[in-house]
């Protein structure tokens, strides 16, 4: 019987050390857990299910539907929303006849004075450059597959870059920071939110969507020229 959650021990690749299995010829039929290195038979779970390592419970393969479509949709939306986020006003503040409009660029430039200047580059990278770079890398790697073409040159590198940059893409953390900041200033002045604010709020949802729908294992298999 094929069970989705392969916590059952049948899937453990259990053989004794002295039996020489022709492992090298059958690498495609094996999978190693990324988090504990356990070698397992590759069992693709039924659609919508995730198989987990029986030893450490780390997800192995999640057989999600329309992985390419969903990931591409997330990447394209990110690129569009980020362009809007930079272009439109973010937040404006008004008090006693004075008003101040702050764009995302102003937030990035907040540290540009004095010795905190390098932080400007870091903030720019975390909230704009890296999210955009990831989106572009994902589109480059996945669009040819979506169109039924072979992967573009360097598609694998590009997808690897997108995954490696993931922890450093912080658009969703930024918008939470903005929410905290707004609580601090609402007593001080009148605050109005611009389209850019909502674009960032939407980006947060896109991040959640991408986490839910992306399966690395599936994309890697599709990107492998040998397996097409």
């Amino acid at each position: 019987m094929m069970t989705g959650i392969s916590a059952n021990r049948e899937t453990l690749y259990a053989f004794t050390m002295h039996t020489r299995h022709p492992i090298m010829e059958n690498l495609d039929r094996l999978v190693a857990c990324r988090s504990c290195d356990l070698l397992l038979d590759r069992v693709i779970p039924p659609p919508g299910k995730i198989s987990r390592c029986p030893r450490c419970h780390h997800p192995l393969i999640s057989n999600k539907r329309s992985v390419i479509d969903n990931t591409l949709a997330a990447a394209v939306s990110t690129a569009i929303l980020m362009t809007a986020a930079i272009y439109f006003p973010f937040i404006s503040l008004a008090e006693a006849g004075l008003s101040r409009d702050a764009s995302v660029m102003d937030a990035i430039g907040a540290f540009s004075e004095g010795w905190s200047a390098p932080l400007t580059i870091a903030v720019a990278a975390f909230i704009v450059v890296i999210p955009v770079l990831r989106a572009v890398a994902l589109i480059y790697a996945l669009l040819p597959l979506r169109l039924g073409n072979p992967p573009a040159k360097g598609a694998a590198r590009s997808f690897r870059l997108a995954m490696a940059l993931k922890p450093w893409s912080m658009a969703e953390i930024f918008i939470v920071g903005v929410a905290v900041a707004l609580v601090k200033v609402t007593d001080l002045a009148d605050v109005s939110l611009g389209p850019s604010f909502w674009a960032f709020a939407a980006l947060m949802l896109i991040v959640v969507f991408e986490n839910k729908t992306l399966c690395e294992w599936t994309i890697w298999r599709l990107l492998d020229p040998k397996r097409r």
Binding site: M17, S35, L38, F126, V176, V180
Partner: protein, 219 residues
């Protein structure tokens, strides 16, 4: 006995990729023979275990802890209202929020800027010490600790973004203006270094050390 412990110590031989003479690519997970230098599929450099994990984890961790000290001592925000200058530290900012009555937001700030960083320092140190000396925590618990640490660490950056947006927004001349203090840079660097420390750790070492301890116990 839980399921994971059974699988780890069950009667049958569990075999790792490394024991089978294989290395799984850190980039894409493809298996290759041990000793192969570069992954065929994604061109990543192959390592059976992340190289020099112990030294790298400690180096980044110590750097992160050192920077966390000035991050708390120096002001995060310098506020000028009607000519009066007020300097606020991380803790000071949270206390101010409590005085406004914004309990929930104060909780978020304290959680992101104090609880998470300190818990992360302790967790990473415990993980790397556990690999060398063994740990009272089960491998499965340590694994969860690692996953939580990796997932949650980046959220500490919230306070840096708060400072950025306040600086950008509150520039109303004489009425009120806010500028970043030296703590902002220290805090941001501390978060980045701690993230690098967690990324240098290799969770496979937890399971390796369990196997080693068991093997030693048997002989």
């Amino acid at each position: 006995m839980r399921m994971d412990d059974m699988a780890a110590s069950g009667p049958q031989k569990t075999i790792t990729a490394r024991k089978a003479g294989l290395v799984s690519c850190g980039g894409c997970g493809t298996l290759a023979p041990l000793g192969q230098h570069r992954c065929d599929r994604c061109e990543a450099t192959l390592h059976s275990r992340r190289p020099d994990a112990e030294q790298r984890v400690w180096a980044w961790l110590v750097a992160g802890i050192i920077l966390y000290i000035p991050a708390n001592l120096y002001p995060m925000l310098v506020t000028r209202t009607f000519g009066q200058v007020q300097e606020g530290t991380i803790i000071g900012g949270a206390i101010e929020l409590i005085e406004y009555g914004a309990w929930f937001v104060a909780f978020v700030v304290i959680f992101a800027s104090v609880v998470i960083p300190v818990a992360k320092f302790v967790a990473i140190a415990a993980l790397i010490l556990g690999v060398r000396n063994g740990s009272r925590l089960s491998a499965h618990r340590r694994m969860q600790l690692y996953e939580v640490t990796e997932f949650i660490g980046r959220w500490s950056m919230i306070d840096v973004f708060v400072v950025a947006i306040l600086t950008a927004l509150v520039q109303l001349g004489f009425i009120a203006s806010i500028n970043p203090g030296p703590a902002a840079v220290c805090f941001a660097l501390s978060v980045v270094f701690t993230m690098l420390s967690a990324q240098s750790f290799d969770p496979r070492l937890i399971w390796d050390s369990i196997e080693e301890h068991r093997a030693r116990g048997r002989t």
